[in-house]
């Protein structure tokens, strides 16, 4: 691979600069933070994979209600558990300042798709709203409000009236919101 866990080779660094939206300083900082997450035995492996529990201790992800979904979406392992350094860079690239709207909306869609079936149906929307308002009893919406809200959402964004929101409809909603690019951002 050309890199040990403690040091990034220069050609690898420039390759990462080509393939992600991150600057050189950001990639080096990400490398430093990633190696802190690894256990001692893992550090000597050629392509170490940080376990999900370690990644969820990062302060930028610790209090995010979507943290497990984020790790699942960006993980390339079979069991969708744990991130390699390249997965981590993909994550930071999608959440970076200079990433395009298309890539952010693509990953936002995948994060919100709780059952990974390619569309946002009513269960996904309900889980999404619960994440947004908080899981405790007093912060949830009442069942009536939830039903009204979901029917309003589907009425506004489901253009083809199939009862689900697919990626293009999602991107259509996102494109009309100017705040999305600045709020879909995680900076180390």
């Amino acid at each position: 691979m050309g890199a040990t866990a403690s040091h990034l080779g220069k050609d690898l660094l420039s390759e990462y600069q080509e393939l992600t939206f991150l600057t050189k300083q950001e990639i080096l900082l990400a490398h430093k933070r990633f190696t802190e997450l690894l256990s001692r035995e893992d550090k000597n492996l050629p392509d170490p994979r940080a376990p999900t529990e370690a990644i969820l201790t990062l302060p930028e992800l610790k209090s995010n209600p979507f943290r497990e979904r984020i790790v699942r979406v960006f993980s390339t392992s079979e069991s969708r558990d744990g991130l390699t350094f390249e997965d981590f860079l993909d994550l930071l690239s999608a959440f970076s300042d200079s990433a395009t709207l298309e890539i952010k909306s693509h990953y936002a869609f995948r994060i919100f798709d709780f059952d990974d079936d390619g569309t946002l149906d009513e269960n996904d929307l309900e889980k999404l709203v619960n994440c947004l308002t908080g899981e405790t009893e007093e912060t949830r919406l009442t069942p009536d409000e939830m039903k009204q809200l979901i029917s309003n959402i589907l009425e506004e964004s489901d253009i083809d009236k199939d009862g689900t929101v697919n990626l293009s409809e999602f991107q259509h909603v996102i494109s009309r919101s100017p705040d999305f690019v600045s709020s879909f951002k995680i900076v180390l």
Partner: protein, 694 residues
């Protein structure tokens, strides 16, 4: 069997229409082979190279931007390797162009990295945004913009006015002789401070700009009208002073419009976004930059509140549509009445400011603390008005029972009107005192201005603006120490139900932004008369940044209601432009109409500040004069005007065409969705008939 087929059909349809990939040439929609373990929407990364291979036009395809592909790194690396292996046949010109583009992008990346490193207060702003949300962060971003703007403009003024004045003060003396036509009294200006002063009067002088501070580079009165004219170098200080002031205004205008341009472009492109608000809140409402549990809980509470309020408003709207005519008439008449009451309050505040200013100008000879109080009386009245009247207007707005969003806008507009026009009233009062209402009284007959009370009126105006700026800063710091910290301590240490209900201070963004705009407008108005005021303002805004940051993190709780950040950015810049135009009116009037003081300043021998320009014009060489005459003549200006009209028509036509194509594409999207539904239904029927047939 039927359901599986249906699911496969819909899955294929998803793959077919799911990703239209990035913008650019239309891609071949190829349905990827359906995999049993589909983990999400598929991305068709195979570019249109298959179609173009036949045409052999690979040379024209630029390398795809791999960063924008939503794939894991391993796949992106594979694609880049494939791309690199496809060595395209390029002409030497194209390969040169491509290598230049690559080095340019590399240079841009390194510059971006450098700028990112030196950006002022980047870490603080990130921390503020992560803990208090976007709305509060927009206030601090606005403050940073103003600091940079003031710093650059003060560099401009120092470079073109202050340094030449310092250099030439020792070299040349006043080079213009004034004709003595009975105006000797006008030229008397006693600026030497009283030699026997008590020690604390230095402090009073610092606060009010009088005494030892009056005859310094700080104010207009100290500058001379030296016109250095050596063999190969000439520098006309009055002309430089005037042009620097004008250019300072133009520079600020350019910066503000450049900054507003990006925000307005985004706002226009997204079309305001009134429709689709529920899906927008749910899909784009979450701020992924929240850095702590407290911020997350706060954001969740915000969203919960917002959703509840919107659902509630919808229910109320459905009810209100059925209001009787009588209740509607009642509502509208009460709204008109309350608007008149608010307007009346504002007029009362203006009258108070006028009285305070005239009183203060009359009592200008007092010394000591009482004198200081009289000097600061206009500032005090303005500040009290700016506190009391908006609070009353807020209560009035609540009674008017508008939509919540409209209430915020109405209250903001009233506050803006109050603050800006109160400054205008102050200026008007000063002007009426200086010129005695266009010279009707005999005090102004001799020198065209009131030379008895204002031997050097520009310095006096500059002092007023200086006092306003300083007073604003002192009030901010006093509020911090005397109101916000004690409030936090009371709330934290008492368990009284009422106190807990009132709670900690909320950081109100609109009020604070209006304070900044007001301060900047004062500086713009005063810059002609107090050239170092932008520099003082830079320091003031830096102090305000740190003070507000301290109070934010120690004393404030974040607001329950969110503040839309993009619309507000445009609004802040529009209000700033309004303040700028107010200052511009003052500048134009001062330059063109009022007679400069004959006893001080760079324009002391002229009838108005503007006349230095025609006078210097005649000292230019004849070719330059002819050239400038030509530019101003009709032969040049009318074709120029026609050309600009044509360009504007072109852009208007372009904009309307883009709007129409956007509408067409939206309609096409809906049509395709209907086609998809039709096909899905056909598949269903087909599978049903097949199933029946079996």
């Amino acid at each position: 069997m039927n359901s599986q087929l249906q699911r496969q059909g819909s899955a294929t349809a998803v793959q077919g229409t799911g990703y239209t990939s990035d913008q650019g040439s239309p891609r071949l929609r190829r349905v990827t082979s359906s995999r049993s373990d589909q983990n999400g929407p598929q991305f068709n990364w195979r570019p249109a190279s298959a179609a173009q291979e036949d045409a052999g036009q690979e040379a024209a395809v630029p390398p795809k931007d791999l960063r924008a592909l939503p794939m894991p790194m391993a796949l992106k690396r594979a694609i880049s390797q494939v791309q690199q292996m496809q060595v395209p046949v390029l002409s030497s010109f194209q390969s040169w162009k491509r290598s230049k583009a690559k080095s340019l992008s590399r240079a841009r990346k390194s510059i971006g990295g450098f700028l990112h490193y030196i950006t002022l207060w980047r870490r603080s702003l990130n921390k503020i945004g992560g803990n208090f949300g976007d709305g509060v962060q927009s206030y601090f971003l606005f403050l940073r913009f103003l600091v940079v703007l003031n710093f650059l403009s003060s560099m401009l003024i120092i470079g073109f006015v202050l340094i030449p004045s310092i250099v030439f003060r020792s070299v040349a003396s006043d080079s213009v002789n004034m004709t003595d036509n009975g105006t000797a009294e006008c030229r008397q200006y006693d600026h030497k401070p009283d030699p026997l002063v008590r020690y604390f009067s230095y402090f009073l002088d610092l606060l009010s700009g009088t005494g030892f501070m009056e005859y310094t580079y700080l104010f207009y009165g100290y500058y001379r009208n030296t016109m250095v004219a050596e063999s190969d170098f000439s520098y006309n200080i009055p002309l430089a002073y005037l042009f620097t002031a004008v250019f300072y205004f133009a520079f600020c205008l350019i910066c503000i419009t450049a900054r507003a341009g990006t925000a307005v472009r985004v706002a226009v492109a997204t079309g305001g976004g009134a429709t689709g608000s529920y899906s927008r809140i749910v899909f784009t409402g979450w701020d992924f930059g929240c850095l702590s549990d407290r911020a997350t809980k706060l954001k969740q509470k915000n969203l919960h509140y917002q959703l509840q309020v919107d659902l509630e408003e919808e229910r109320i709207k459905n009810e209100a549509a059925s209001l009787t005519l009588r209740r509607k008439v009642l509502l509208y008449s009460s709204r008109i009445l309350l608007s008149l009451v608010a307007f009346g309050l504002i007029i009362a505040a203006f009258y108070g400011i006028y009285q305070a200013t005239t009183f203060s100008q009359r009592k200008v000879k007092e010394t000591g603390v009482l004198g200081l109080f009289y000097e600061y009386l206009p500032s005090i009245v303005i500040t009290v008005g700016n506190f009391v009247v908006p609070v009353l207007c807020d209560q009035i707005a609540l009674l008017e029972r508008y939509n919540p969003s409209i209430t915020v806008i109405v209250a903001l507009l009233r506050s803006v009107f109050l603050r800006m026009v109160s400054l205008g009233v102050l200026l008007f009062t000063l002007w009426s005192q200086i010129t005695c209402f266009e010279g009707v009284s005999e005090e102004c007959a001799l020198c065209h201005y009131n030379y008895k009370s204002y031997p050097c009126w520009e310095t006096r105006v500059g002092q007023e603006m200086y006092k306003l700026t300083l007073f604003d800063l002192l009030i901010t710091l006093a509020m911090l120490v005397l109101v916000e910290f004690p409030r936090r301590m009371v709330v934290d240490n008492s368990s009284n139900k009422l106190i807990q209900f009132v709670g900690r201070q909320e950081f109100l963004v609109p009020v604070n932004v209006l304070g900044l705009v007001y301060g900047q407008t004062v500086v713009w108005t005063g810059a002609l008369f107090c050239p170092l005021l932008p520099l003082i303002n830079t320091l003031k805004f830096v102090i305000v940044f740190y003070a507000k940051k301290i109070t934010l993190f120690s004393n404030c709780r974040p607001a329950a209601k969110t503040f839309r950040s993009t619309k507000s950015k445009v609004f802040f810049l529009l209000v700033l432009l309004f303040g700028w135009s107010l200052a511009l009116v003052a500048l134009i009037y001062s330059i063109a109409e009022i007679h400069p003081s004959m006893s001080c300043g760079p324009f002391r021998s002229l009838a108005s500040m503007w006349t230095i320009v025609p006078e210097s014009f005649y000292s230019l060489s004849f070719t330059t004069q002819d050239f400038l005459y030509f530019i101003g003549s009709q032969r040049f200006s009318i074709p120029l005007f026609l050309f600009f009209s044509v360009v504007m028509c072109y852009f208007i036509a372009l904009a309307s065409v883009y709007g129409k194509s956007v509408d067409l594409l939206k309609a096409q999207l809906k049509l395709e969705a209907r086609d998809k539904q039709f096909l899905v239904k056909q598949i269903e029927e087909l599978s049903r008939t097949l199933g029946v047939a079996k």
